[in-house]
Symmetry: C2
Subunit: 317 residues, 2 copies
């Protein structure tokens, strides 16, 4: 994959929507492959009519089930849909995701649906780099709708949900009340609040409490509260209507543009280290970093000064 012609070919494959090219590129994103800067340069594309939906909530709240239920109505109106399931991939808690993915097999034969679990191997902050880049790849490949599913257990996962055009926060009866939700700042994060497992006792009380809390906050966009039940096969259509309503509102007020600019800003900052490494070349970069780390360790230089020296153009090294 090293020669530039291979990279150009791979980027062309992504732009043509070839599944293998998309899958391979996402693996390179996960691995933070050295060819990414060149590859991403071939995947710049403005996709104003896209829709990126973040779906977050505590483990067990029903994220995968709702994600899967959203795919069918989206397909029915002609959108190509990509699902990016962000796997916090802790060595300590991994394992549940495979089972989740199996539930989505109903869409396995549909060429207009792309499903991918995504972990961040490697270095710190990897998820922050990987997710915006993965969304870029999927949009470039012609998926108009990208559903990004993240487990709301770690800071980075929640932040990732914030990068969407529209963010769904899922809650289930018996997994925390409305006051906790408000205290945790979740009402501010949510564009749509979804009470899952609405067939369980307490769902209506939770929904009512959430609606009251929302009204108290008097936000510009009071997040609608939608009840869903997977066992009763209801609610997915209403969730989609709420997503569309938010998307239309955000487009009209300019809020959508603001979010997308924020996503691009995050992406730029997230790749600063990689861009610096590419500019210097991996060997010079590694040699510099090693020397500077030794200086930080022996107390002769502080980390900020070291970072600035690391990012100097090669001549001044």
């Amino acid at each position: 994959m090293r020669p530039s012609s291979d990279v150009a070919e791979l980027a062309a494959g992504v732009r043509a929507g070839q599944l293998r090219a998309v899958a391979r590129t996402l693996t390179l994103v996960e691995d933070e492959h050295a060819a990414l800067p060149e590859l991403m340069a071939g995947l710049t594309r403005s996709v104003p009519d896209s829709l990126v939906v973040g779906i977050t909530g505590a483990p067990g709240v029903g994220k995968s089930t709702l994600t899967s239920a959203l795919v069918s109505p989206l397909r029915a109106r002609g959108s190509r849909v990509a699902v990016l399931a962000v796997d916090p991939s802790s060595p300590l808690t991994g394992g549940a995701l495979l089972a989740d993915r199996i539930r989505m097999q109903e869409h396995a034969l549909d060429r207009g649906v792309f499903i991918r679990s995504m972990a961040s191997r490697g270095r710190l902050g990897g998820l922050a780099r990987a997710v915006p880049q993965a969304v870029r790849v999927l949009l470039a490949a012609g998926y108009e709708v990208v559903l990004v599913e993240t487990v709301g257990v770690g800071q980075s996962e929640v932040e990732v949900a914030r990068l969407a055009d529209t963010t769904l926060v899922l809650l289930a009866p018996g997994m925390g009340d409305a006051v906790q939700t408000a205290k945790a700042g979740l009402l501010e994060l949510a564009d749509v609040l979804v009470v899952t497992k609405a067939d369980l006792p307490g769902a209506d009380v939770l929904a009512g409490d959430l609606r009251r809390m929302v009204r108290l906050g008097t936000p510009d966009w009071p997040p609608p509260v939608v009840l869903t039940s997977a066992t009763q096969h209801r609610g997915a259509g209403e969730v989609l209507e709420a997503v569309d309503a938010h998307h239309g509102w955000a487009r009209g007020t300019g809020g959508l543009e603001v979010r997308r600019l924020r996503r691009a800003q995050t992406e730029i900052e997230a790749v600063l280290v990689e861009a610096t490494r590419t500019r210097l070349g991996p060997q010079l970069y590694a040699a510099r970093l090693e020397r500077l780390a030794a200086e930080v360790l022996d107390g002769s230089r502080d980390p900020y000064d070291a970072a600035l020296r690391l990012s100097r153009p090669a001549l001044g090294s």
Copy 2:
């Protein structure tokens, strides 16, 4: 806090080990305050005789209990001890940490013990920046031992555990078996394996399985397996012996130096964005980032190229 004299005073306070100065500085680290680069420049200090211990494991495995139990023997041998409890601080799961901290009140009146929960507010990758800097602050303040407790639920939390001189991985009977642990790569992460809740059934089987798995791997340092029981008040001393043994081994083989260099490298890379912002000044930085994000959004520039332009010295802007 803006004038340089205040920053210098705060840094001097930290170096003198003043509790208020340390606490205030850690808040600035959490907030990613603009004065950090200047502040950190006053906190460079080589502390070769320090010991940074990472303590990680699934929620409920007993991390806080063991951390608290380690403090007393460390104090008994004269070390000043800082505990940094990294709070993944998801809005979706927060809340359990306060109760954990209360358990540590037995050390509340000991001036040689500093206890702090640390969340990363703000932006993506925040934990990666905050933890190494917090460790730097605590070492500069004269705490020879820093215990960094992280919940092993998110990628970043586990990575944080890797930054320690010695990493403890905690497991409890009934919370996953040895094979899962090995598969998840935890044996490679652990320098000491601790089976907590050893009074519960299955502890000996788990410990035996772990020992067999360790032997199969034939690593340079086969992590010892130590059993602890908080209810029976046993095991903390043995854990500390194992930590000391690993620390001595790592010091002798040069592995300790390698880890500390890696920690410094991570820290340098983690502050690259902040260092760049400081060099350009916040206004020029923000204006540049905004313009570049718009170009990335309209497809006229790729994120890597944008990142390089962001980091150019001011004249070439």
